[in-house]
């Protein structure tokens, strides 16, 4: 079962596609590990990719799709005829279907759903109504449920009869419902090992099992699984009707997705993931949208220099230090942003605890401000031999560091309270203010001692 690393799998795949030999293509794709499958498929041309996904049986195509990151897979599915896409989606887990459809335009998603098997289509529509980061969005519909008045024998027969279908199922529990599909209890597989075969499930099941509501948040689910070492938790709707199962892996995966979004957001990649397989203009446009906002913020900050232009002209050496003071403060502030974002996401600080954060950061800001200020001030003094230049530059960096870390610590909390995404907004906001303040401190301090510089 060892998978081998192939040097340029997309070239081989592309050649095989030209021969149109289905079996060879299947064998080759099977021989790739998931990362190489994703790589190979992403490097094909659009038409080759469409050829591959339609040449393969829907079941095999679905396995390929599973190896590809969601946002990329959604792009590929969009290129297919809706009926081909529908056939593939029918082979995927229900929460995966919802994730993919969620990345498509509404129009494309509808076209695909309309061509799915009515039952699966109904399910997909239902799943799409849930928020991605709730129990409804994370649950799967592949689970085993039986009625409370069924007997052990019924279950065992059913398990035997559907051995193959169930082999793909993730769930190690049986869920027991009443005649109106309301969750009554749960049974572990092993609980079927010992009892009489005529025993009713209602007499064996664990009553009042753990469950979560469809709208339980990602944080609720994390808390749940940290508290309970379970393989999955049943999800019920407002009427207590069983509607799915959330697995702990799905929760971890959603968490990872969130971390990734934070990371991308902080780096100015907005509106979802970017892959270099996407069209150039789409990539360029999305990056520009964020940069254009930034350039406006930059202009606001730099206008402070324009105001003090005469001061600067009178002591041109200051120009060397302006970007240094603003950059360094920006770095200090971003450290505080990261700590706040992390503590927020771990629940170690609450959005309302502004004073606590300000206190903790301001005291750190004083220490680091002094350290950095003395360092930079001393270097300025050495360079030009002017103690006043050292005082102006060092003093400005010290004061601006206190401003930057306090602000950096506070901004994520404020954004969270304003229901804005700290990952997207913190850094541009912080940098604008710290740039502006940095320029202001250097130049206004300098204007006080201008004759001595």
């Amino acid at each position: 079962m060892e998978k081998v690393n192939v040097n340029k799998p997309w070239e081989q795949l592309s050649e095989l596609l030209q021969t149109n030999d289905l079996q060879q293509v299947i064998d080759f794709v099977d021989s790739l590990n998931p990362a190489d499958t994703a790589l190979a498929v992403s490097r094909l041309s659009n038409s080759e990719r469409t050829q591959l996904l339609t040449l393969l049986e829907p079941e095999d195509a679905a396995e390929v799709i599973e190896d590809i990151p969601d946002s990329q897979a959604a792009d590929f599915i969009e290129d297919l005829q809706p009926e081909d896409a529908a056939a593939i989606l029918e082979e995927l887990d229900s929460d995966h279907v919802a994730d993919l459809l969620g990345e498509l335009d509404d129009e494309d998603a509808t076209a695909i759903i309309d061509r799915m098997d009515p039952e699966e289509a109904e399910e997909a529509r239902q799943f799409l109504t849930y928020d991605a980061d709730t129990a409804g969005g994370l649950m799967i519909s592949e689970y085993l449920d039986f009625k409370a008045d069924q007997k052990v024998k019924d279950v065992l027969d059913n398990l035997q009869d559907n051995r193959e279908e169930y082999a793909d199922y993730d769930v190690q529990y049986l869920f027991v419902t009443d005649e109106r599909d309301r969750l009554q209890g749960v049974l572990r597989m092993r609980d079927l090992l010992f009892p009489r075969r005529t025993a009713k499930l209602s007499s064996l099941m664990i009553r009042n099992p753990y469950k979560v509501n469809v709208d339980a948040s990602l944080e609720d689910l994390r808390n749940f699984f940290e508290d309970h070492n379970l393989f999955g938790v049943p999800v019920v709707d407002a009427d207590d009707k069983l509607c799915g199962i959330v697995m702990p892996e799905a929760v971890e995966e959603a968490n990872e997705k969130k971390s990734t979004q934070q990371f991308l957001g902080l780096s100015g990649i907005v509106g979802g993931e970017e892959f270099r397989s996407m069209p150039l203009l789409a990539r360029s446009g999305r990056r520009l949208s964020w940069l254009s906002l930034n350039i406006v913020l930059n202009i606001i900050a730099a206008s402070m220099i324009a105001i003090y232009q005469d001061t600067l002209a009178a002591a041109i050496a200051l120009a060397v230090f302006l970007p240094m003071v603003s950059d360094m403060s920006g770095c200090s502030g971003n450290q505080a942003v990261a700590v706040s974002m992390r503590e927020l996401s771990l629940g170690l600080v609450r959005p309302t605890e502004l004073l606590r954060v300000l206190g903790k950061e301001a005291s750190l800001g004083v220490i680091n401000g002094l350290a950095l200020g003395i360092l930079l001030g001393f270097m300025a003094y050495l360079w030009k031999g002017s103690p006043f230049l050292g005082l102006v530059v060092g003093g400005a960096l010290a004061v601006n560091t206190v401003v930057a870390v306090s602000l950096g610590g506070a901004i994520p909390l404020l954004l969270k309270r304003a229901k804005l995404d700290p990952a997207l907004v913190s850094s541009p906001l912080l940098t604008t203010v710290t740039d502006m303040c940095g320029f202001f401190f250097v130049l206004s301090f300098a204007s006080l001692v201008l004759d001595k510089l």
Copy 2:
């Protein structure tokens, strides 16, 4: 079983600790959800926290520790007497023990291990030898294994006898080994449902089961679990001896940890996580270590301004645009860094594919460089009415954007090849070069047309 949100759980916990009433403390901690437990414990004073963890039975203390992020939990454990710490660690999963011990100083870790139950100590020592991000570092030792010549009846008896102990076990498989502990096969619990009770495991087990080597990487494990929808995979050493099980959740968790480290590293939080419950000087020192490197890099970049000081003095309006050009290029470059890091971690680009990345980024850089350059150049022209100022500023931004995105795309690949961490090094490196080039382009272009500015 509903957990309630308590307003300031640490205050209540602190009060309860003063009464020293064990049962009340247990009840209160039980009533908190994991996030609130972590919050409450992190806000206690050091002495209160030590009192809590020693007052509780080791088993209950271990549950508290499980709710706390590893690096913070390690700090708390360090404050305990080694024998108290050892008693608590004995109650944790083996991979969690290894994670915590790995975060301690060697000396502290040894002191604790020496006081653990000899068998558990031996295991902990063994686990510590594995890299955290390998199968050895991620596996747990809590699994069920039987010998190939045992019978179904033996297993069922054993399961009955150890019901309580096994209830905590995560694993739904039985592993079958030979007399020298080498992995022979695997059985699902449900495979015990049907066969005769006198059947030998060797006749029932699935032979040649999937397995991974102790040194399998995180990426191998991700690939494995993407390929195989299993609840866990057995881990064997070089002699094929079964030594543990890796669960898919552990792999997802390790992944999330990696994303978090990337996010923190990019923001300049190095040397592990920072929480505001840590001592002020430790936090300040760690942040300073990264900032001091940055200030040196900043000085190198700013020295470019010093070189062109006369040009700048002759056209002081340029000073307004210097930080803008360098900042904007830095932002563009960081977008490319993020895309490269993401593609690398997904395996969508290989570290050797420098030309591919340079091609993709340079073409994007030309488009975005032109767009931003024209925007900024036009604004500069409007502000001072000088077309030459516009050309200098806009041209410099355009050229520097191409440099920045090409470099930003390439740096993570180069660092990966040099086995350095892209998250830590990319941004400072990129910013230094783009600052320097930005200053250079603005000022050298300006010096060409100085008499017209």
